[in-house]
Amino acid sequence: MTAVELHHGAASDVGLVREVNEDSYLATPPVFVVADGMGGHDGGDVASRIVVEEFGRLATNGYDPEHGAAVIAETLQACQGRIVEYAAAQRARGATGFRAGTTAVVAMLVEDAGTPQWLLANLGDSRAYRFRDGELDQVSVDHSLVQELVDSGAITEADAAVHPERHVITRALGVPEHRNDARADYFLLPLPSAERLLLCSDGVSGMLEAAEIAEILGRLEDPRDAADAVVAAAVAAGGRDNATAVVVDVVGLVRQDAYDAERQRGSLEEKLGALP
């Protein structure tokens, strides 16, 4: 019997430009969430908090780990209902044009035939990355206008980073006109392939190059330090948006290096002159 041990760190900062931090996060093993709210004070912050509340309930009450995707889908649906209701109530009280919406990126430990796995889900442009062997691998695919342009070949990844409409997202929770687009994409990863996960809002991924994030995640072993440093770097880089990061490490896995990984390292060391 091997229990899965998770270590985590989380940090969030309002940034240098915004007045309200509309990001929220949940770091309650085995459920982790980053939500980036939209709509301004009492709008986006409430929407993202609703997401954290609903998923927090899963963390405390437990869930069926064999049907994780259905569990997440139901929870997102519940969030959607609550946010739409909340916005309608605000409008009914006279706040004309009141809007509240949020992104969500979720990492949840599930299990299949006794094997624990990471189940990830995303909606909007908050991201899930995995970090291993010094490399940062973006797992989630943004639901954003620029991602659609990249997918269609109209622009490159580099263009996307500076595109004027890079903040326009195509799926979100709580936005009535996105009603049919409150669907998340789901991802299953075996734990050994994702010993460190990063969930973050676009205030992190939009301010830092992937290489900068990778450098921090590789340098700082403690996930609390890593999360703090990632957010601090995003703020230092300009802090144009709320920046939030959750870093989760799976610890205690017996790591079996694959045959060709050994061989590659051997040949690399040989080329570098480390071995005779």
Partner: protein, 375 residues
Amino acid sequence: MSEPSTWEREGAARSFQPGDWYAVLGPHVVVLLPPSQRQRAAATWSAVDAGAGFDEVLDAVLADGLRGLPAFALVGRRDPARSAVTALLRGPVRASFTADGETVAVDGDAAVTWVERTFATVQEMVLVAEPVAAGPQLPAGDGLVRVSRLQQPAAAAVPEPLPEPLPEALRVPEPEPEPAPQEASGLDLVEELLTEPVVVLPEPDDLPPVPPPAPGGAAVPPPPPFPPPAFDADQAGDHDGLTETGRGPAVEPSPATSRPVARLAFSHGETVDVDRPVVIGRAPEARRFEPHDQPRLVTVPSLHQEISATHVEVRPGAGADHGLAVATDLGSTNGTVVVQPGLGPEELRPGIPVQLLPGAVIDLGDGVTVHVTNP
């Protein structure tokens, strides 16, 4: 007492014209759902297939709330032993019901929530969900089909004496009184099954109970034995865009049945039922799948790294492949070979699903084979 017609009888088959709407057809109920409601259609079919009654089917249709459901139609007999037919319509769905030469039209747009009508007896019903393309009427039994128009003609009225109303206290809840002069047909079996207590969960009945909260929130639900799959460093190099799974080429929803369509016996000893997508590889991952389609990841040993991290997928087939397993190579480096019984080896083309007959053998390379058998 009027002479009720039977709502469903052998020979009183339905007919439909193809379209984009989902029609869930059961022995006692018919449900129409808009093209956007794929998951709801799957869940509703699960309920109907499990023999759920009218009210339980309504629960399944509304399980995800009414707000996200712009339109639907649910027509059937709330009491299978009686002839009365109830119709619920929401949104741009129109229906007409004919009895004794009289036709009543019902329009789902005429109410904020839904329009409800009950008819003592119905001889013919037509449901129209979207503009109907000219074309032949196709026969439909029970199942899940995509339609624009559905018609349920009645057979000649069969005398079906209703049971005398009993005082509530005397009524025995189970079994339901059978309509007496029903001739022997497959339907009797359905009726019989329906008198048994029915579990209406849209999910498979092997649903394990929700685990208690993890102690102290420290780690996971029950810590399972965990044989760590082989870790490999080059796996990142495998993400060539073709390894995306869960978005199989199948356009139609996989039938949301929990019944496995095949069993996979792996050469390393593992046995897996194909009741959902099974993603096989050296260190398999699944990307961008839908929540009702959560795959099972099966890690196979690959001593010489000939098997790709995410190599091949086997899933229950949809549409023409319904009831069979289909295999799809997910862009593996060294390919997948399938040997169907009595045929020569066939190399799978990446992304193209191939039906698997019982007795087929899938060869992933590196000495790993998978035998396909009946479940």
